[in-house]
Symmetry: C2
Subunit: 430 residues, 2 copies
């Protein structure tokens, strides 16, 4: 199953003005679509993060991909890492601040998903079966609430309907939760915090609890914007209310400090992370420091779908919970998450997804958006990831990318542009 | 790829009179050959442990296998565990002393390997590619030395040539090592200890070091037959000589005690185990107690080949070394080990194998025995495991099983029969 073509297509996807501790989402989120074509004309595809630097990195590993058998993934992984390593005298594609192995995991992960889609399509097998077999037929997701300004994303003639309205206070958050539950049936709720004073965000969680009753698990994620002391106060205020507390501190030591403080307070609330444990290299430290009780897995940077199935086994063996992290994404990323979730027995929470924030106009899958019903997605039974790319829609995404001018995600710049010219990204802020 | 036939064939394989702390190997080792046949007539096969109880357990899960798609392995794993669970009022197939999950790992593991062989043959892909892709083209094995009485195994008209002679002292062990290196080119050496006084076994290791020079890694494995105090003395006597020290104590606490003592003595010699960490459930305890530094993986009881690839990732993340354990086995088990070794980047030592102790007369593979050259086996490039069963040879193995009368491995009974009628299995003995 020799790979003869490697297509790398940058796209831009309208994204609403969502707030987080790093600033404000731009009108477009950037994504990259990878397509691998085999010598017998079968195409496998995947979706990952976007931006100019990533494109250069994908381009840089082209020779490691072309001509390789789609099954030959372990050696591809090594070849990707070797090709990304800096060579004296050549312009580096991995910046000095970046880790080659971290970038390699991201680049390889995207190619691996496309290869598995290709293999699945060639052999008539869904990707979840290639990963070890499905343990569930539907995968549950959590509503992902954001404080949000007015607007649905996009710019100029290309703006999207603002389906969710403004949410800058607890009432707005409750309205958003209800609208999302109405639309998708979510049974778990996550609030992106670290935006307003902790007091307001605590009030938002209490308002959600009151509005939704005791049976809807709630989470908050300030992305490390709080000091350990603030996080301890939040943890105290939300004791017995949160299902888990995500990234209350931005460092391993901070997470461990929050955990110790919570336990000293008789509060066993688990801490989740996609910030301090983001690779296998950090797993043992996270466990040894008791800094982390729930890993938020993400195949986009953990090194692909097989890596996540391995992570599931490791998490279970180490007594950790497992959920899934998300970025702004389309259906192809979502389907990859669904397949790996289906093949990961030890997935212990509903996964995050930004998918409701994107619009049908931007979807690149033939047949349109993936359906979320009762908070869950049916695991496809069709070969590969279970979807095909609509090449016209992909071309429109590409045009949007060319037109929009964004080449890197910069939430701080958007915040300065639309909210406060003097805004600074403070870590911690409170 | 529906499975329509599930063949379970017990075989007996001539085995020489090898000594270990539990007694003496019987003239025959028992193995079980599993064959899965798909509706389009493709057969996948695997080899595992033998004996009557295992046969009953395989038979008991037949309905979970027949009619299932060969890819549907995660649900098969669950179904196997469910079917093995005791049902009130029915005769249990898992004995009260056994753990259902341990037995299920063993039963599922054998079926998984056969299913992967079947899938590989149906799709034209070697099993190592199904497991994530090959990272090496040859897999290194260690010579596995045993104290040994006279004889080549087998009984009556069916005895085998005694290719290796008697080894009951250091000189005999050195001669055995040299003969094995001559025949197979092994570059690492393991001695099964716990048989004679520790002093003699220490002398054997020193004699090996002297005879083979400083570049041949050496290991000793008393199977927990020594007290921690004795193991500390052995560790002191062999400081700087052993590559690793395998199962110096039979319990987690004992292993941790030995480790602490060695470290206090300035001796960082890693401890390896296939006794105190034999499943993912025991992994965290082994690490937390610092009882284990090298895991000896074995797909026959860890739950199949995919489980070993997961274990490799977990071991790397936890800073553990990884090698492979073996029992008396034929080429089909060996090939499964070779494929998973090829697909496990973090395999840090040459693997154990008993294969040299078996004879060509007992091999069931078409084409005869798997070749070990320069201490290594080439990873097959043919589909599946890369071999076919010789059905006549399999039938002869079955006849041997029917004829030999052995139905369970009982090294103590053999020891009493051939060496000392009053012999007891003492743990620890020294």
């Amino acid at each position: 199953m020799k790979i003869v073509e490697f297509r790398i297509t940058p796209i831009a996807v309208a994204d609403p003005p969502l707030l987080n501790c790093a600033g404000l989402h731009a009108p477009y989120a950037l994504r990259t679509i990878i397509e691998l074509v085999s010598e017998d004309g079968i195409t496998g595809a995947s979706e990952t993060h976007g931006g100019e630097r990533l494109l250069a990195q994908f381009e840089h590993v082209r020779s490691a991909v072309i001509g390789r058998d789609a099954w030959d993934l372990a050696r591809l992984s090594r070849a990707v890492e070797e090709q990304l390593a800096p060579v004296p005298g050549e312009t580096p594609v991995v910046m000095p601040r970046e880790s080659v192995s971290v970038v390699a995991s991201r680049i390889f992960g995207a190619i691996e998903v496309a290869a598995l889609d290709l293999i699945g399509k060639a052999t008539g097998v869904p990707v979840c079966e290639l990963l070890g077999g499905r343990v569930r037929d539907e995968v549950h997701f959590s509503a992902y609430l954001f404080y949000k300004l007015a607007g649905g994303g996009g710019e100029g003639d290309d703006v999207r309907e603002d389906r969710w309205g403004v949410a800058t206070d607890p009432a707005g958050i409750v309205a958003q939760a209800k609208a999302m539950i109405d639309a998708y049936g979510f049974r778990s709720i996550k609030l992106k915090g670290g935006v307003y004073e902790p007091k307001q965000e605590i009030a938002a969680i209490h308002a959600l609890r009151e509005a939704l009753g005791p049976d809807t698990p709630l989470r908050i994620d300030p992305n490390g914007a709080w000091t350990p002391q603030t996080s301890l106060e939040v943890g105290k205020a939300l004791a017995g209310v949160l299902e888990y507390f995500e990234d209350p501190a931005p460092t391993m030591a901070g997470m461990a400090e929050v955990r110790r403080g919570l336990l000293a307070d008789g509060n066993p609330m688990p801490l989740a992370t996609n910030m301090v444990v983001t690779s296998f290299d950090e797993l043992a430290d996270g466990v040894n420091a008791d800094a982390v009780q729930v890993i938020l897995a993400d195949h986009h940077y953990w090194g692909g779908l097989r890596a996540i199935t391995h992570l599931g086994t490791a998490a279970q063996a180490l007594g950790l919970g497992l959920s899934m992290h998300s970025n702004s994404h389309l259906g192809l990323s979502l389907l990859a998450m669904v397949h790996v979730a289906a093949a990961t027995p030890h997935l212990t929470y509903a996964s995050d997804t930004h998918y409701p924030w994107q619009s049908a106009e931007d979807e690149i899958l033939a047949g349109g958006r993936v359906e979320i019903k009762n908070g869950a997605i049916q695991v496809p039974t069709a070969p590969g990831l279970g979807a095909e790319i609509d090449q016209d829609a992909l071309a429109r995404g590409r045009e949007r990318y060319d037109r929009c001018g964004y080449r890197v995600r910069d939430d701080r710049a958007e915040m300065r542009k639309h909210v406060d010219p003097a805004w600074e990204y403070l870590m911690p802020r409170w």
